[in-house]
Symmetry: C2
Subunit: 337 residues, 2 copies
């Protein structure tokens, strides 16, 4: 039995390309004591991976060259030499861009059993997984959203943004999304139930974007969840009410090495704003509570999500590059079985 895997074999000069990755096929070694063999059903593709491709300082160490590209996976245990896992267990882990992984079952948090009868397996990589907890943490622990407030979120049709807005609505807030193009905006408004959605592609200049946001948020913005950075963040800060709170979760526009300045930092003072960056994996203590909340909403059908699923390990690089260009719709996954 062999295992196809993608290694990162070069770093991007500027934009990431498929040539940065190399597909290899290797035999699967025998398990050692305490190890578990997992067959991956789904691989998660996420914007944070672009940051790991660089070797510049970031919140996490760079992805080492010539090793399997990092990534979240959902799958099934097919062989086990650990008493903690048995063949047939459904598990979520960080298996990487490959069909199989061998996991040390004793490494804390390396593998988590999930109940795939209640919630479909792909959801454990999205709305009931890391992206969902990211949304939950930023909204509840940084923004501290309260009923009656107006909450904005960029990349609103995405895996994280869609959860931010729906949880905000469930909290009794007004939810304002930013998304690119009429199809995504229609989804945000009509399927996810946001109160307004600003099409940032239609409003390419800052004044037009600001006016559209003013119309969407006539009473100003109390809390904002930033997934992107750049022009949207500038517009939002200009519309924030006094004592507004901003959870900074993503700055995807800057990943190609071009920092995008914040145009009006004086607003931090004049509106007495709080801005806070965070990485959800550094707040593991909230995961059980967050996953229970999110799982219950998914099972009840009140938390909606959409997936774009690429087929086969070979499709991973192109699907990832598409994600960086905003071609996906909802959570981007690769089906590996």
């Amino acid at each position: 039995m062999t295992n196809k895997q993608f290694l990162l074999t070069s770093r991007p000069e500027r934009e990431a390309t498929a040539a940065n990755f190399t597909l290899v096929e290797l035999p699967i070694p025998a398990l050692a004591e305490g190890q578990v063999l997992v067959r991956h059903h789904y691989l998660s593709l996420d914007p944070y991976m672009r940051g790991r491709m660089n070797d510049t300082k970031s919140y996490a160490p760079p992805q080492p060259l010539n090793q399997v590209m990092i990534g979240g996976t959902a799958g099934e245990v097919i062989d086990s030499r650990s008493p903690s896992f048995a063949a047939g267990d459904h598990v979520v882990g960080m298996g990487g861009w490959q069909q199989f992984s061998i996991v040390d079952a004793n490494a804390r948090g390396a593998l988590r059993k999930v109940d795939a009868t209640r919630i479909p397996m792909p959801a454990f990589l999205g709305v009931a997984g890391m992206p969902g907890v990211t949304a939950w943490y930023g909204l509840n622990k940084i923004i501290e959203a309260k009923a009656g407030q107006t909450i904005a979120v960029s990349a609103a049709s995405g895996a994280v943004g869609s959860v931010v807005g729906q949880l905000a609505k469930a909290h009794g807030c007004r939810a304002i999304g930013f998304a690119g193009g009429p199809e995504k905006c229609g989804y945000v408004l009509n399927e996810l139930g946001f109160d307004a959605c600003v099409d940032y592609k239609r409003h390419g200049d800052p004044k037009s974007l600001y006016r559209a946001l003013k119309e969407a948020a006539p009473e100003g913005i109390h809390g904002h969840f930033e997934n992107v950075g750049g022009a949207v963040l500038d517009a939002v800060l200009s519309r924030m009410n006094d004592f507004g709170r901003v959870a900074v979760c993503g700055m995807i526009s800057g990943y190609d090495g071009e920092p995008i300045p914040l145009r009006y930092p004086q607003l931090i003072l004049t509106s007495r704003l709080l801005l806070q960056g965070f990485i959800v994996s550094e707040h593991m203590h909230v995961w059980p509570e967050a996953l229970a909340d999110l799982g219950a909403r998914v099972a009840a059908g009140t938390l909606k999500y959409r997936e774009t699923i690429a087929d086969g390990i070979e499709s991973a690089p192109e699907a990832f590059l598409g994600l960086l260009r905003g071609k996906n719709f909802g959570k981007q996954l690769v089906k590996l079985t």
Copy 2:
């Protein structure tokens, strides 16, 4: 008896000028029931006044045209029709740019009695007044400075910055200041006892400034108190450790209507920073505790300060413009008696 006062009679086109102010001399009306007449001994000049001269949105309403310019004052009650105050009481208030003020003694917080035998009266407008409490709040409540950390502050020789660094030292922190020119840097190092001072005038380009800061803060920066904004803030954010905290107190460089962009906002995410703007007058609940702490340190001689004192109400506009250009050394006051 007459009262000389400065009115704001026009708003700056770009830079503030002395022509924006007009000196008038009016008779002092008789007191009504509940009123107190205060002779000002000292007027405080502060950077926030520049913001009030504009009519753009800021954290406070603009200074109305053709009214007495706003300002903190320390003085003595010379006549009273209120049981709460008697002639001879030393008081601090917001009397404005004038020699006398008539104050409604019942207006909460309008006038505060001080003990001018223990601490010299000008100190109540500086280290034991609003600037001192500003430093105290930012350092203790936003930065949450802890022993062993490195704390940076811009405008380190100024009324606020000098207190930030000295309190940081008292907390067991390493204190790094920014100041302009060898004289101010020498004062920050040798008289105030900071561990290092970066002369931002000597390091005009960002790389040079960054290198100087790296030398001053070899283990990175845990907390920063921002009084200025611009290039210093960019350099500090680049040197901040993970989970660093920034109290945003002043953005003086942007007051002339030219916002100065923040160059690397992605650092908020990659270093998981917290940035928070604040105005100390919105946190009145901490004032008693802060003033008690600051007053005790001033009386004990462990909290040092310096003042630049202009003479006579007529000198107020030029002294204020000098403050905006950094010509003062320590707290800028005008002596009115």
